[in-house]
């Protein structure tokens, strides 16, 4: 014991480098820059105890830690430059202090961005959505996992493909086994699907004679060898797609010997070849190589480009929410994906493929957070809104998906998400919107002749999911616009201020504006609510399920939909707001870029992605919001093409412990 603590002290002594061992810049930070923080920012407010504004500046002892949390220091720079920090009641910084601070913080940050960093992408299982589509593309069998599998949480940029929250659990595994059995049975039940991977193992009369002859003369079982060849072929065809790479000979042999084991066990069965193949395919569907997307982790310190097959898998997950098809795998095999032009060609091909609609749906429904609509636990007050039927909610959801897909594939203009003069309606939704002449259940493109609606801000899906069950919420809608369109999500309310507008004595919508005006008198709330509330009020002509109205139920006066933004623009109502948002293209481009990259990578966007986001939004603006070159750029981007290995690399020997 005593010895051990001595050892600990010794290690500690060796472990801590001396001041002089640190690089010159770090020492300079401690001597010159850090004291300015300590004196002016940390001592009274931004320390571990007070954490004013949620910020503890005391913890940044190293330049590296500043570089890691660059987004925090961008705010620091902003406040110091604008003179909003230190606040009026504190001593202002001297000119020297201010200049020194700004110069060095900016330098640290730009230094950090110089070094490209692809971020960490770790092994993750297929999301339920990807699992369904992968099964469909692989076997042709459609499975609905909706209530069968525990629902995927979400994380990162808000998408369900985020590795950190995609757990594998015994319950999930049980269900994977069940699904694999029923899927393979269904596949076998449909000869067309079955024979895509498993051609029949029958032999012509001449082959049979040959087999008989060889068996008799040379004592050689040609029939069995041929059967094994066929099985090897079938397993290879299925396994390659499932594992997103070619099977190693050892893997193939392992599956083949399992085939043989089953095959030999049922000599009496006429369809024993198919029976044995079935068991092998079931095993493929519960293999980690199918269920988990895992890229190699070579023990390298610096980032490295991922392999062609890994790239193909990233692409198919991004653009199809599924596994690669044969063409993409072959392109990977040929090395085509290393050539930017051929890579772009593949992206364009994949976007044209109907499977791209899955990406459209997955992305837009999660980005705009309208996916709630198709989940049974989402409810509106049935007495107030009896019209809000399952059909209507599905149509609302469908409108947005169709619309997004159209801007992606047909009009090729993401700006129409804000300003389009058309939408997608079926009879139910057209009636809901008061548009005449649309019949049937099918959603189809309809030109809008009146100015009320247009773009996502006029869609019932968005308007409903940003409402409360019994009434509209201008605050939620305003927040939504700031987040989704303007890329300036409001900060969380200060601690112990309860959820604002729901807290006021609001009996009905009529008194909303009045209540919010009082709320805004509090300077703590004003900063964010000024824009947030006004953006929301501009949409008050839409009720809680997105119907047009000019008055509240209980009031003869027209609804006041006027407002203004901090940046100076005035507007009244949805149409004028649309015009103004249309001028905020840079912000909108940034919003889409951030979300699209987050979706493509399945991770959070971090400070180190700043340059990638910048260049992606520039490409959107330069190409007038054409999604094609934009998505090509996403695929070509550094974090999509590169990877770095997790800090701890260990020899994988999980199997040895049991």
């Amino acid at each position: 014991m005593y010895f051990r603590s001595l050892l600990g002290v010794a290690l500690l002594l060796i472990g801590i480098p001396l001041f002089a061992d640190y690089p010159e810049e770090q020492r300079h930070y401690w001597k010159v820059v850090k004291p300015i923080f300590d004196e002016n920012c940390n001592r009274a407010c931004h320390n571990a105890d007070d954490k004013k504004g949620g910020l503890n500046l005391n913890q940044f002892d190293f330049i590296l830690s500043i570089q890691r949390r660059g987004e925090v220091f961008l705010r620091v720079i902003e406040h110091v430059e604008n003179g909003t920090m230190p606040p009026d009641n504190k001593r202002p910084l001297t000119t020297t202090e201010k200049d020194t601070l700004l110069f060095y913080i900016k330098k640290y940050i730009s230094d950090a961005l110089e070094k490209p960093d692809p971020g960490l992408i770790t092994a993750r299982r297929l999301s339920n959505r990807e699992y369904e589509y992968a099964i469909e593309d692989l076997t042709g069998v459609i499975v609905k996992t909706d209530s069968l599998l525990p629902r995927d949480p979400g994380g990162g940029e808000g998408f369900d493909n985020f590795s950190g929250t995609l757990y594998i659990t015994p319950l999930l595994m049980e269900r994977y086994f069940e699904i694999s059995e029923s899927v393979i049975q269904q596949m076998y039940g449909d000869p067309q699907l079955w024979q895509r991977h498993v051609p029949s193992n029958s032999f012509s009369i001449f082959q049979k004679i040959k087999h008989w002859w060889y068996a008799w003369i040379y004592k050689q079982d040609l029939a069995h060898e041929a059967t094994l060849d066929n099985a090897r072929e079938a397993i290879g065809s299925f396994g390659t797609l499932a594992f997103r790479r070619y099977l190693s000979p050892a893997e193939r042999d392992k599956y083949l010997s399992f085939f043989e084991q089953v095959y030999q066990s049922v000599p009496e069965k006429e369809n024993r070849y198919d029976l044995a193949i079935q068991e092998v395919l079931k095993a493929v569907l519960v293999s980690n190589h199918f269920l988990i997307r895992q890229e190699a982790d070579p023990p390298l310190k610096d980032p490295y480009p991922i392999s062609s097959f890994e790239l193909a898998t990233r692409m198919s997950a991004f653009l199809w929410c599924s596994i690669p098809d044969t063409e993409l795998l072959e392109a990977a095999y040929r090395g085509d994906l290393r050539d930017p032009e051929l890579l772009r060609h593949q992206v364009r091909r994949m976007l044209k493929d109907p499977r791209a609609k899955r990406m459209a749906e997955s992305f837009v429904s999660q980005w705009l957070e309208i996916d709630n609509l198709v989940q049974p636990e989402f409810e509106m007050d049935q007495e107030l809104f009896p019209e809000f039927s399952p059909d209507l909610r599905t149509s609302m959801y469908g409108e947005t998906v169709e619309y997004f897909y159209y801007t992606l594939n047909d009009s090729r203009n993401f700006l129409e998400l804000l300003n389009g003069r058309y939408t997608f309606l079926n009879e139910a939704l057209a009636e809901h919107y008061g548009v005449e002449g649309v019949q049937g259940d099918e959603l189809r493109k309809v030109d809008l002749v009146t100015p009320e609606r247009g773009g996502i801000l006029g869609m019932a899906s968005v308007l409903t999911t940003t409402s409360l069950p019994n009434r509209t919420s201008p605050v939620l809608r305003g927040k939504w616009v700031m987040e989704k369109v303007l890329s300036t999500p409001p900060k969380p309310p200060p601690p112990n201020v309860p959820d604002l507008e729901t807290t006021r004595e609001i009996h009905d919508e009529f008194t909303l504006r009045e209540a919010l005006v009082i709320h805004r008198e509090d300077p703590a709330c004003f900063g964010c609510h000024q824009d947030m509330d006004d953006l929301g009020f501009a949409l008050e002509n839409f009720d809680a399920i997105g119907r047009w109205r000019t008055k509240y139920n209980n009031s003869p006066k027209p609804i006041d939909v006027s407002g203004s933004l901090k940046s100076g623009e005035h507007f009244a109502g949805a149409a004028e707001l649309r015009e103004i948002l249309n001028t905020k293209q840079e912000q909108f481009a940034k919003a889409i870029s951030r979300k699209m990259l987050g979706f493509a990578l399945g991770r959070s966007i971090q400070f180190k992605d700043t340059k990638t986001i910048e260049s992606l939004s520039n490409s959107l603006i330069e190409n007038r919001f054409d999604p094609l070159p934009f998505i090509e750029e996403v695929v070509l981007s550094y974090p999509f093409q590169y990877k770095k290995t997790d800090k701890v690399v260990v020899d994988h020997n999980v199997g040895d412990d049991v």
């Binding site: 209530s147 525990p150 929250t165 999930l172 599956y255 293999s287 409810e379």
Partner: protein, 462 residues
């Protein structure tokens, strides 16, 4: 860990064979004579019921303390079980009730862990501790088919709450088997039922197990183990999750004896229940209501109760809703709007009224569970007698988001170990962790502390 007694199922089997087996002595706890072993040994169970958004304060705590008290309006539906209840006041989830944290997510995930969670949109999920139910499951879970079962009314809520910067997963999970891994909850009553009982419902053809399943398991395990590559830390964790999950299937396939043992637990009484419940599940699905929250809760509670009664598991949790749940309660008379919105009543009488009604609905559903478990007989006792049932929320007043003076009720005495029938109000800010420490010890988990516990709760142990 008391390793000297053998599980009840194994005991039953042993007794069926011959009482005179020499090893019988080994499974009798000291002080229990052999002839009344079966009488005395009833496994203890734990069931937790969590509801979101707190309670109407003035209608929760009964006016008088001690054994003579009148039920409060919110707890009125539990009146018939007064003598089985412990109503505990002034417990506080100390570590999470701090300034500057979010109102809901930071309180829901730690409901059973009592520690402050890591703020994250999903990359570093960490609740800093294992939840109380899972510690118990780790202790008693090996005896049963499932170490624990987790149920809920709503599935995990997806995405990130960007306003506050938390993944909504935190608001959807109270059971944490490790600081970084929540237990998945089942929300579909049909699947939850089938998972446990499908093969035991009289008149329903059992599902035939694929005879090759075992070989499939072996093959993929073999394949995954031989993955002779170097893996980063996160990737290795993912592989470990996978292997562990496949092994759990392997284990269940290997233990066909256990399944037979379990079948022995399905008494004629349980069979009757299974038939009835199966029909109700069919009705529920045919009507495809999905909207009838009351019936869905009750189905889940029936499954929950039967899981405990049949000894499929000894630990369950149930979430009435996720954090910030805005479930529309307009189906209740006099209520209009969503749960979360209404909980922010801001002192407005009409809203408080509605808030109270929603609370009472929850109490009524809890009462339904108590009705069920109190009629499930175990010898001359009931399942309720042998259980500890915790009912509560992670907030007091939903308008204030405070985790002090939490609404917490315990039902059942855990096999006569808790002194029920009291309304106790503790000193202000008594750690909620003290209750959990008490429960852990009541369930024979050898431990002396839990999170910020300062000791056990006085006055509730017999």
């Amino acid at each position: 860990m008391k390793s000297w007694y053998i599980s009840r199922r194994k005991a039953l089997k042993g007794l069926g064979a011959s009482v005179a087996l020499p090893f019988l002595q080994a499974m009798i706890p000291p002080g229990v004579r052999a002839e009344n072993f079966m009488e005395k040994y009833r496994p203890q169970r734990l069931a937790v019921f969590y509801f979101p958004n707190g309670v109407r304060e003035d209608h929760w705590t009964p006016g008088q303390v001690g054994r003579q008290f009148d039920m409060s309006p919110t707890l009125k539906p539990l009146e018939p079980y007064k003598k089985d209840l412990l109503i505990l006041g002034q417990l506080k989830n100390n570590l999470v009730d701090v300034k500057g944290t979010d109102g809901h997510y930071t309180k829901t995930a730690p409901f059973l862990t009592c520690r402050l969670i890591e703020k994250t949109t999903g990359a570093n999920i960490d609740v800093k501790g294992t939840s109380m139910d899972q510690i118990i499951a780790g202790h008693v879970g090996k005896e049963t088919r499932f170490p624990s079962l987790e149920y809920g009314l709503d599935p995990v809520k997806g995405g990130v709450d960007e306003l506050v910067g938390y993944t909504r997963l935190y608001g959807s999970s109270i059971s944490w088997e490790s600081p970084t891994r929540p237990r998945p909850k089942e929300v579909n009553p049909r699947f939850a039922f089938d998972r446990l009982f499908r093969n035991f419902v009289p008149g329903v053809t059992p599902k035939k197990e694929n005879p090759w399943k075992k070989s499939v398991v072996d093959l993929v395990l073999e394949d995954a183990k031989n993955l002779n590559r170097q893996l980063g830390a996160a990737d290795q964790n993912k592989m470990a999750e996978y292997l562990e999950s496949v092994r759990s299937i392997e284990k269940r396939l290997d233990s066909t004896d256990d399944l037979k043992d379990f079948e022995a637990n399905i008494t004629p009484d349980i069979k009757k229940e299974l038939i009835r419940l199966n029909v109700r599940l069919n009705d529920y699905i045919e009507l495809n209501s999905g909207v009838d929250a009351t019936e869905k809760v009750r189905l889940m509670m029936d499954i929950n109760a039967l899981a405990l009664w049949s000894d499929a598991t000894r630990v369950t949790t149930f979430m009435f809703g996720n954090s910030v749940s805005n479930r529309s309660f307009s189906f209740l008379d006099g209520v209009e709007g969503g749960h979360h919105s209404i909980s922010h009543h801001r002192g407005h009488p009409q809203r408080i009224e509605m808030y109270g009604k929603i609370n009472i609905w929850h109490s009524e559903q809890f009462r339904y569970f108590l009705d069920r478990v109190s009629t499930m007989k175990e010898g001359d006792q009931s399942l309720l007698d042998n259980s500890i049932v915790l009912y509560g929320s992670s907030l007091r007043d939903g308008d204030k988001h405070r985790a002090s003076n939490l609404p917490i009720v315990i039902a059942g005495s855990g096999g006569g170990k808790l002194d029920t029938g009291q309304n106790i109000i503790y000193q202000e800010d008594t750690p909620l962790a003290n209750l959990y420490l008490t429960l852990l010890q009541t369930m024979d988990v050898p431990t002396h502390s839990f999170a910020d516990s300062t000791g056990t709760l006085e006055g509730i142990r017999v």
